[in-house]
């Protein structure tokens, strides 16, 4: 059975540096990523954490590749299920006065529970990131259907 792979492309009126900063600086991710912070020194081999305001890690991983402001590759796992590890790649390309941001989430383990969750999550987070960079305000990513 083919392993699932998520590829999400969005165009944002912003610069590669601002987009990189929005993904890697905790004070920015908190604004659009449901209050969670992405914390790391973003060097190859370093750990990274996706932390709540109470410093609880919802996601953990390692930095596989780091080429600011164009490419960031991370491993990704729920701390309660570390073996269910997958990989996330952010690619940021300047296009006219915008960036093309492509997020790929792949290398899921067979039977991964994470694959289904992130399929619903990434469009919300990346839509919120776009709103944050373009309007100064993110979206509520935990919003439910009316």
């Amino acid at each position: 059975m083919k392993q699932p792979e998520l590829v999400y492309t969005t165009y944002i009126r912003s610069t590669p540096k601002k987009t990189w900063d929005a993904i890697t600086k905790p004070e920015f991710t908190r604004e659009y990523w449901g209050g969670l912070a992405n914390v790391s020194d973003w060097k190859k081999g370093s750990k990274w954490e996706h932390l709540t305001k109470e410093n609880e890690a919802w996601i953990l991983g390692k930095v596989v590749e780091s080429a600011p402001p164009k490419r960031l590759v991370l491993t990704w796992a729920d701390p309660d299920q570390l073996k269910d590890e997958s990989r996330v790649t952010f690619e940021i390309e300047a296009v006219e006065d915008m960036v093309c941001l492509v997020v790929t989430h792949d290398r899921f383990k067979t039977g991964s529970k994470m694959a289904e969750k992130v399929g619903a999550g990434w469009p919300r987070v990346l839509s919120s990131l776009k709103s944050f960079l373009e309007t100064g305000k993110g979206l509520n990513i935990f919003c439910k259907h009316d």
């Binding site: 999400y8 492309t9 969005t10 165009y11 944002i12 009126r13 296009v95 006219e96 006065d97 915008m98 093309c100 492509v102 469009p123 919300r124 839509s127 919120s128 776009k130 709103s131 373009e134 309007t135 305000k137 979206l139 509520n140 919003c143 439910k144 259907h145 009316d146």
Partner: protein, 167 residues
């Protein structure tokens, strides 16, 4: 021979109302702003025609034509999409492809889910440096639509008619 059916699904969340999003999706005037200058005209009833007119200088793309299959105002639009195929690709088509817009209100946001289905592998473009292909075109159009609704200004892709990104 087993035929590979391809579908493309894309979801985005926009800070707007279902009514404003519906209006923007179905308006010829608004579509020219976010759809690379293409004008999307639709007769909003089952059986109504859909026409997608190319802008000046891109006439080689031809008009897309289609028909409305389902129309629930402010919630759902389904229409057929007629490709401008070469004869070789036209032979492989098993009916027209279909586009669905699903609008789901969520407080101050609306979830827009786009589904383009009954496609061929030839409709998917492997080269990411172009806007050609269903997979490259739709994210650009929808991103531009979101910017138009949230900022009042669509994205400017600097299209010169060749469909490439680099310039």
């Amino acid at each position: 021979m087993k035929k590979e059916k391809i579908e493309f699904v894309y979801a985005t969340f926009i800070r707007t109302s279902p009514e404003k999003l519906w209006q923007t999706l179905t308006s010829g005037e608004f579509s020219q702003k976010y759809w690379f200058g293409f004008r999307f005209e639709v007769d909003l009833r089952v059986g109504g025609t859909v026409r997608i007119h190319p802008p000046k200088g891109m006439e080689q793309h031809g008009d897309h034509k289609g028909e409305v299959l389902e129309c629930v105002p402010n919630r759902k639009l389904v229409y057929t999409w007629q490709q401008n195929d070469t004869p070789e690709i036209a032979k492989k088509r098993d009916g027209l492809s279909r586009v669905t817009y699903e609008l789901t209100p969520m407080g101050s946001q609306v979830k827009l889910r786009l589904i383009h289905e009954n496609l061929l592998p030839e409709d998917v473009e492997k080269d990411p440096s172009t806007f050609k292909g269903i997979n490259n075109g739709w994210p650009a159009v929808i991103s531009s639509l979101k910017s138009l609704l949230e900022n009042g200004v669509a994205l400017d892709f600097g299209m010169t008619g060749c469909g490439t990104k680099a310039d």
